[in-house]
Amino acid sequence: MDYTVASIAPIVLLPFLAFVIGSFTAKKFPKFTGIMVCVAIFGSFLLSARIFSDFVFNKFSADYYIHKTFLWFDLGPAFKLNLGIYIDQMSAMLLVMVSGVGFLIHLFATYYMGEDKRYASYMIYMSLFTAGMLGVALSDNLLGFFMFWEVMGFCSYSLIGFYFEREAPGDASLKAFMTTRIGDVFFLFGLLIVWNVTTQVNGQGSFAFVDLYNVIAAGGFDGQMLLGIPLATFAGLCFFMGTIGKSAQFPLQVWLPDAMQGPTPTSALIHAATMVAAGVYLSLRVYPLLEIGHLLTFVTYIGAITAFGAATMALVQTDIKAVLAYSTISQLGFMVLGVGVGNYNAAFMHLITHAVFKACLFLSSGSVIHSLHDHHTHGHVQEMPRMGGLAKKMPYTCFAMVVCSLAISGVPFFSGFVSKDRILGDALIHGLENPMVYGLPMFLGFLAALLTAFYMFRMIFLTFYGEPRDKELYDHCHTETFSFNRNLPLLILTVFTLGFWYSGSLTGQGLVKFPGVENKEWFQTLIEKPDDKHLAKFETYTSQTWGKVDIKPEVTFPKSHYDPTHGLSEADAHHAHTIHVSGAIGSIFIAFLGIFLAYLMYIRKSLNPGWWVSTFSGWYQTLKNKYYFDHFYIDILIKKVLFKFQDFVAWVDMGIWDRIFIDGWAKVNDTFSYWTRKFDDIVIDTIAVDGTGASVRFFNLVLRTFQSGKIQFYFVVIFVVLASYLLTLKVV
């Protein structure tokens, strides 16, 4: 397949155009705008799916990529700024996930937000949001990545604060925006470092991923230090801070739970398909930098702490969306943990599988919330203590949610098991090999998996099973009838939470045959870790100019770098496999244990949750208050430190800058103007202007004396002049 820009760029441009057109039609034709947005995103889904199928199922080897660049800025020979499109297997998969899940979320939004008075503007913001994420997936360089990343930042701000009439969403949107901003600042530093190093190595600065890999392979970062730490560590840390901000990792996880203040489809989009995925995607893209910067241990710890901490916080939430929000943070922690233990494609697989089942979970929770209408407050009910027994009222939603909960808990045959188990397996290998360093993350990872199963089924049991706890609410809730924009997205997503789509069984057991590839998991075949062994291939990568047709020769499949032994020796690979199997058995046991505990606690009631709360009330309060992170940030960091700093800065401004420089400058000007006035008075006015008059008057005085009117005087003058004239002529 020959690709041109015209067949790729619409993936981003369609949703973006829908946003542009929609912003004109939103007021007059809200229904049309909603449909147009859905159609646009479906269009980019079709285009992505075509590229994806070409990449995955048809013709191309693992080496194939599309890279088209155009010159954006030309500010001299050493400062050319290129933007462009880079699609390899990873971006192709991300594109199809984002546009597909995004489309289903938009479809659901037409149901969920259909009666809202600002329905159309909601849809166009969602569209722009999706365009931003698709742009992130397509971008060939870190700068373009950053720009689309910021588009998402803006959209998340306006979508979280969509109900800006109320105070809490406004605060939440501001919090989300400001918190992610911290990561973005570091991201910018990272960009500067990359530009600097590529300039040193290639003589031509660049932000392109390919150039970055090239420079790393060429040893451009070797021996470079900044502030006493290696430059690679510094750059990797900067980019990873971007991940921490955007993907809500510890310690910047505070914004994500508040982000659920937005309408539920927004949460589905932010928490599943787009925004938080971008952060993990970034750290996957800059993985070589993390590796040579020796940051992987740090990444592992951040991931494990996030996964475990968020899972514990999810235990005590009563808001159905809050549980999901914390589980998102926890799952993102798993992804980062996967990056940290070096299981590159398991981390990416978890990103994809998580996007699917978390989108489904959020949409299901939206479905639940939307049908629970409190007639006293005229609001929707999100509190789980007022739910219960809803399975009878909404069978489809219940089905979707239970399946997705099984997936997220890591029950076999579901997608979460496939991806999470591989992350945990690698964590286990690292933990057993090096228990001093990796023991704690491994332990936290398994514990978080246990908690995940527990809190997810706590949510399921509290919502759908048991007795209805708010009888009035339950009776008012209509029985769910199948509707295409409410239940269809849920069911489609549910289908894709099945494990065989992602595992080896799809290809390995003959459902889809890759020519010449036997018994290999397609996912592992495709997603190749760009570690130092494989970086060299980027040296041959060339970018095509914008608008040219890609005429790369087709290479059929088996030419793949996939190494089933992961570069290990036979014995080591066998050992790793054994550990993976025991890890899998462990995580299956853990998943069922978690579900069983939830069952005991909330269905059988043989364990009383109240007893646990009163026994561990200190811990309960800590978890309820989110480990006091909000308290720490707002009351201590902002009020005690930042406000003090602000006062200091204000003092510098008012006391020093204003008083000395501004007022001082006024004084200088005053003096200057005083002397200018003096100069004007004395030199210009008195000497020049009056002086001219005076001199005229003086000459007048002199000349007037000649005009005496005395005839004899005139005669004397004439005579003297004539005589002197004659004397001068020397006539006499």
């Binding site: 005496s708 009117g709 005395k710 005839i711 004899q712 005669f715 004397v716």
Partner: protein, 101 residues
Amino acid sequence: MMGLASYLIISSILFICGVVAIMARKNIVAILLGLELILNASALNFIAYSRFLNNNIDGHIFSLFIIVLAAAEAAVALAIVLRFYQIRESVHVDDATQLQG
């Protein structure tokens, strides 16, 4: 032998006397007298040069013109003086200041 120089010296003396009279005297009539002296000095010059340099009668003719001119000038000037005296009751030259700017 009386040469050209003797005549020129005489005429110079006459001229100087006339000029001094014009500059120094305040009486208009005396100034007119000085003027006559200057005219006669120049007439004498003409004749002397005519006699010693050209030996023709051009100088004589000029002298005659000068005498006629002097007569006419004296007539006009004395008429002005008479009028002036009638207006100012003075022939003092400093009283004639109406030309002053």
